[in-house]
Structure formats: structure tokens, C-alpha cells
């Protein structure tokens, strides 16, 4: 028995159950939580549209994030620019396989994985798929857990900036890639938050009601 079947909505903040009127019109109407005052809806409003829009935005940001340099190293010998991939290759060449692997997974693999999972989830809900619900739930949890770890590369760049700052001798500055990469992380996190996992368990005809 789902809570919706008894016209009960769950408060997104405090999980208080709120009774909705019988003749609910689709998913648009909302109630106010008596305990914490938040807006309660039966399902997150326009969840699929919002998730899809945010995923598309992050795919667009992902391209310059990988092509543009993350940081510029200014030395008396000139300027050297590093992209994410060149950073990974540098670690692999110098033998730091573990760190190279961590950076590769966190900055290249995880964002792609996250975007693909979210696209698949949106697609499957839109198609009204009613199988593999447990697997899809696990995929959604995965996107929530791993999402923040992509920030590692942004932090590495900023710590390098803070430490390597010797005037004309050598200096590190942030590149445009870091900015776009930050946007990818923020937008994929927002996309994961916009998706409503309860849609996975709903029966198809309710989504379009």
C-alpha cells in the first residue's frame, strides 16, 4: 500500500504525513505541513521535466569542462595549461596510479555515469516501465552518494592556487575548465535532487494523470 493510495503526502523536510483531499487534481496541488510549515506535494512537481533539463544543462557544461584547461601554471619558462585528462595522464606517467585512478573516477567517470543513470531513470519512468524497480532504486541511490565526490578536482585546483603563489617565479591560476566543471557538479546534484524516486514505483497511467 502506497501513501498516495490513501491520499497521504509525506513532508519532504520532516516526513510528516499530511492528508490530501479526495479529489486531488494530478500532482499540482500542495498542502502545508502542520509540523514544519513546508510545502507538501504527493510527488515532486514536474520532476521528470526538471531532471531532464538539468541533466541536459550539465551535459552541455561537461564538454568545455573537459576541453578547457583546469589550471594554468605560470613560471619564468612560460605558461603550462592542464586539462583534467592531462592531469590524469601526468599521474599515470609518474607512477602515482592510485591518485590517477581516483582523479579519473571522480572527475571523468562519475559525472558521465551520473548523467547516464539520470537519463535512463527519466526515460524508464516516462516509458512507464514497471520492472527492475529495486535495481533502479539502487542506481538512484548511487547518484546521490557519488555526486559530491566530483568536487575533488575543483578542490585540488584551489589548494594548488593557494599554495603555489610565488609572484613571478611560479604561480597557479584557475582556468575556465574549473568553472565549467564546478557547474557540472552543481547541476548534476540539482538534477538528482529534482528526480522523485517514488515515480519508479508508480503505475504508468498516474504520471500523465
Amino acid at each position: 500500500m502506497r501513501a498516495v493510495d490513501r491520499n497521504l503526502g509525506s513532508c519532504p523536510v520532516c516526513h510528516q504525513l499530511v492528508r490530501f483531499p479526495k479529489q486531488r487534481r494530478a500532482q499540482e496541488n500542495y498542502a502545508l505541513c502542520p509540523r514544519c510549515g513546508s510545502e507538501v506535494t504527493l510527488r515532486k512537481p514536474a520532476s521528470l521535466q526538471n531532471t531532464l533539463a538539468l541533466v541536459i544543462a550539465s551535459i552541455l557544461f561537461y564538454v568545455p569542462a573537459n576541453l578547457l584547461p583546469m589550471m594554468h601554471v605560470h613560471t619564468f619558462a612560460g605558461i603550462q595549461s592542464d586539462t583534467i585528462m592531462s592531469g590524469v595522464l601526468y599521474f599515470l606517467e609518474t607512477g602515482s596510479y592510485l591518485i590517477g585512478f581516483v582523479i579519473f573516477v571522480a572527475s571523468i567517470f562519475v559525472p558521465i555515469l551520473k548523467m547516464l543513470i539520470l537519463l535512463y531513470l527519466v526515460y524508464s519512468v516516462h516509458q512507464g516501465q514497471t520492472t527492475r524497480q529495486k535495481e533502479r532504486r539502487r542506481l538512484y541511490l548511487l547518484t546521490e552518494v557519488i555526486g559530491r565526490w566530483s568536487m575533488v578536482d575543483v578542490y585540488v585546483v584551489s589548494i594548488m592556487i593557494a599554495l603555489v603563489h610565488f609572484g613571478g617565479l611560479s604561480e597557479i591560476r584557475a582556468g575556465m575548465g574549473a568553472l565549467f566543471f564546478l557547474l557540472v557538479v552543481i547541476f548534476t546534484m540539482l538534477a538528482a535532487m529534482a528526480f522523485d524516486p517514488r515515480l519508479i514505483w508508480d503505475t504508468p497511467k498516474e504520471h500523465h494523470a
Partner: protein, 214 residues
Amino acid sequence: MSRHLISCHECDELCTLPSVLRPGRYKCPNCGHTLFRHSPGMIEKLYAIHIAALILFLLSNWFPFLTFEVLGNSSEANFTTAVQYLYQEQDYLLAVALLMTTIIVPSIRIVLILLLVAPLHHGRVPRFAPYYLKTIEEITPWGMLDVFLVGVLVSIVKLVKMGSIIPGTSLWAFAALILVLAYGQTIFDPHPLWERIEKAQKEGEAERFAKARG
């Protein structure tokens, strides 16, 4: 609504809770998601842990966390150094993101939990408790201190080949802070807190009602 009903946030299954709770996890029978954790003494533990976290947080912001030396030049970095340089070079968005995720959000979270839990421990429900708890829940995903620690470790490996790296006092405090906060995160469960707040709200209403009737 009856306090023994709860709906799963992952699959919307309506679950009935037993009236007497055993310590441990309660899972959704349909999808297996953790509905909530019942940990007795949670308020006291959170109180202690977040006082420790506050001290460690202040320590790790007070002292430099890394010193980097190359060819006789040395530079120190603490949490705000990177923000300053990014701001100077007009990378405002990066500066703001760094400031929010590593300083503002974690510190607000620690302070709010203390503001909420300390009065509860002494038997009083703070006036703005619902707002505190709401804010805590909303900002939690944006505090990324643990990710920052990994970032620090990666950049140490990166820089070790260019010069010498000296870990500062605050790096140790910071590592301890991550452990303490991680433990706090595993025992933090908003449900009993909300129930305390709800109870206090009802009592307050009853009192006002009694006063109004004289």
C-alpha cells in the same frame, strides 16, 4: 496523523511502526530503504560530538594546514587563502563555491545542531527549532568537507614532487573533524527530533488554550 505511520521516501510505501522501538535501523519492507534509525541517547551524543566538531573546526581554520617550500620560498595556506586568491583573480563563482561548501555550510550546520540539541538536552525545546532542523536538512548535501580532505591529499601528492610539503597543525585537527562529523552523520536522525518539537508545539497550544479560557 498517527505517529506510528510513516511513508518511505524512496518508494512511498506506507509503513506501520511498532509502538515500542528497539535501537537500530528500520527498513522499508518494500524497497529496503532505511526509514529511520532509532538510537537511544542520540541527543546527548550529538551534543558532545558537535561541541568537539566546533572546537576542531575553529582549530583547523585558525592554523595553516599546509606549508609549501620550493627553492627557499615558502607559502602557507589555510582554508581561506584559496578563496582570497580566487577572489583577487575574479573567479567569483569558484571563490563563492569554495567558501560555501567548505566553510559556511559546515559551520552553520555545526552551530545549528548545537543550538537545537543543547536546549533539548536540558529539557527545553528552542523557539525556532523547526527552522533550525529544516535548515540543517536542506544544507547538508552542500557541505563537502570530506571531499575537501581527499582534495588536500591529492594535492599533497601532486606538489610533493615540486618542493617540500609540511603538514600543519590544522591538517590533523581537520582529519579529526572529518571523523567526528562522519560519526555524527551516522547517528543523526531527524525523526525523534521532530517528534520532540511536535510534542512541545502541542503542549504550547494546550497551555495557550488554557490561559485563554482563564
